[in-house]
Amino acid sequence: MKVGLFIPCFIDQFYPEVGKATYELLLKLGCDVDYPSGQTCCGQPMANGGHAHDSKGLAIKFGEVFSPYDYIVGPSGSCVNHVREHYDIVPQTENIKKVRKGTWEISDFLVNILKVDNLKARFSKKVGVHNSCHGHRGLGLGVQTELNDPTQVSVIETLLNQVEGIELAELDHPDECCGFGGTFSVTEPTVSVQMGINRVADHKKQDVEVITGADMSCLMHIQGILKRQGSNVEVKHVVEILNSEL
């Protein structure tokens, strides 16, 4: 099984440690991982801002870069969701069809493809999970509180529950949006920040030490708010916790 590592642009630039943890974790779990260096961005920021028509070249490029791989795995639910759901803007070539089907968010990949049930990791802190919307509702990574469907499972919690020493917080609103929303964060900064403050308050109420999630963009927004508040609550991508040593 050949895995193409998909490191979204802002993780590449702002959070290289998340890319490293993703890479190391996949290696640890026995995957044959390659990072194709031609990759840039999936096009999501433009498309969510209403400019999908300007991002067609990026979809085609993504198809070219990643089509050689059986699976394309990345640490971002929203980017993966974008590839799967919104690459209908370009002709459905073999490349495009293959990457739309083969692109996976890492926690989903770990649980549903690799069937990981015994992670060897330890993280002795109280952790609150932020369920980022596009992964949560778009990819179905978590339990969607609006639905009356008792069969839903959270892949993130399935993995975190395998981590020794971790304590997961129970939040009042476990799947409320943090307010990042891509361009929304700068076109509607006041609402965006208020929503972030509300999310942070829910986690703080449970005395969490770390807020984690499967989307670094939301976590960047949450981290920005925590830093402005002078809080010592940390933010970590879920792969950083899953990749921690025993």
């Binding site: 993780i11 630039q13 890319g19 990072y35 031609g38 840039t40 433009m46 990026l58 900064p189 609402v191």
Partner: protein, 457 residues
């Protein structure tokens, strides 16, 4: 419609959030509705099946809307109801005014109708010297305060009981009080007098049944029934063309869902069925298009016409909860408003589909499974393409796409960007919207790509 420059959602929201105490109270009030809805819908094991059924019935009805409307007209007419067709808001208002004038009706009571808000009927009637009294408590409060509804089920949800107490002191001569029981009683006495002395009543329509030619109204206050029974000589109901369902047996699906999803009640207190006028009385129904046919022709967007106006998408929307209903410029606020508004005037309401994080919670609560967040995304594409490519945002997007399509330029500009943020952090934090309430992340010493190259070449 005009395309006057309106205050943007972002600016409205800034004003709304500047009163933190009230904003926090509002957020909690709306969460309370969402929580009640969650409890009520989870009591029905078949909830998700009902959603699919309701969605299918509505989709079917829309696919044969012309046939069902004609069937409805035929059956309603046979029952003695008079049917009128209005192409737009102006025609609706004219028809209503003409009927009222023909009957010499000068005092009207009206139960809550979002369609009449859409048509701005009250202004029109008042301009014709007809007194129109809103008989829904929330709507009456807003009539006193001169405001528009901020929510389609709870129109005055933005007003605190203290504010209402002060308003009633001024308008109804009540004692200083914020006791909801006392204030409601005062409103009830005031409205009772209006009901008894009205010359005619008006209402909207929740459901119109093609098979029987009858229509259904759902209220919690019984005010629609009171309006009709206190003075049963003349009633006018306004309905959008999308209110049709084919058969009586379909009604139960929607009745079980509407109140559960709206307010967490198993059913509205009053579910009133109207089939024929009393002896010597008249019932008129004005069937209104007002851009609905235009929307029906939009393949990506026409499922918005399935909406039964439960407002659950507003109650769950995190943007609505933190900006209030008045932050949207359209008569229907929140996610459903944001996908209905552009068809009326794409320029005027261009910012509405962007007043969302596309979180998708609206779609999940929708009882008729409208893909609201996907339509918000799709409207954004339509709106951006209609705008000139030479807008500031358009140029940034094109520039970004150019950079990102070229790996070398991306790698190089990434480094330049990081250098810029690292050395001009103060500027970026203080002169960009990001810095409003947020810090920037620390700048790493190298990108992932550089690290990977160093370690794998």
């Amino acid at each position: 419609m005009g395309t006057e420059k309106l205050i943007s959602h972002a600016d409205h929201s800034r004003n709304f959030l500047s009163n933190q105490l009230k904003a926090s109270w509002f957020n909690k009030s709306i969460w309370y509705q969402r929580d009640k809805r969650d409890v009520a819908t989870k009591k029905l094991d078949e909830w998700e099946t009902l959603r699919q059924l309701a969605s299918d019935i509505k989709a079917h009805s829309l696919s044969k809307l012309d046939e069902y409307l004609i069937e409805f007209e035929k059956n309603a007419t046979a029952n003695g109801i008079q049917i009128h067709w209005a192409e737009d808001d102006k025609e609706h208002n004219k028809i209503a005014t003409d009927i009222l004038k023909n009957h010499g009706a000068k005092k009207i009571v009206k139960s809550k109708s979002m369609l009449s808000e859409e048509c701005e009927l009250n202004h029109h009637l008042e301009a014709n010297n007809i007194e129109i009294i809103e008989s829904d408590l929330g709507e009456r409060i807003l009539q006193f305060s001169g405001e528009k509804p901020s929510h389609i089920v709870m129109p005055a949800i933005h007003k605190t009981k203290e504010e209402i107490g002060e308003l009633f002191e001024e308008k109804l001569n009540t004692k200083p009080s914020n006791d909801p029981v006392y204030l409601t009683q005062a409103a009830r006495l005031h409205l009772r007098d209006k009901f008894i002395n009205a010359h005619a009543s008006m209402s909207g329509v929740n459901f119109a049944i093609a098979e029987t030619g009858s229509f259904v109204l759902c209220t919690n206050e019984g005010n629609a029934d009171l309006g009709m029974t206190a003075n049963s000589k003349l009633h006018i109901a306004s309905m959008g063309i999308e209110k049709i369902i084919p058969k009586q047996e379909h009604l139960g699906v929607f009745i079980r869902m509407l109140a559960r999803n709206a307010t967490g009640q198993p059913i509205t207190t009053y579910t009133s069925h109207f089939t024929k006028p009393d002896e010597g009385a008249e019932i008129h129904i004005i069937i209104v298009d007002n851009n609905r046919t235009k929307l029906l022709g939009e393949e990506k967007f026409n499922s918005a016409l399935k909406c039964i106006r439960c407002a659950a998408c507003m109650n769950t929307c995190p943007v609505f909860k933190n900006s209030g209903g008045h932050s949207y410029n359209f008569v229907i606020p929140g996610p459903i408003g944001a996908i209905l508004a552009p068809v009326h005037d794409i320029k005027k309401y261009a910012d509405m589909p962007f007043a969302s994080t596309l979180c998708g919670s609206c779609t999940n609560v929708c009882p008729v499974k409208i893909n609201i967040h996907e339509q918000l995304y799709d409207w954004r594409q339509v709106i951006s393409q209609k705008k000139s490519a030479f807008t500031f945002k358009g140029m940034i997007m094109k520039g970004a796409a150019f950079v990102l399509e070229n790996t070398w330029i991306y790698d190089t500009s990434g480094k330049m960007g990081m250098f810029f943020i690292k050395h001009f952090r103060w500027l970026v934090t203080h002169a960009t919207p990001w810095g409003e309430g947020r810090e920037l992340p620390d700048i790493p010493k190298e990108s992932f790509k550089d690290w990977y190259k160093k370690n794998h070449s």
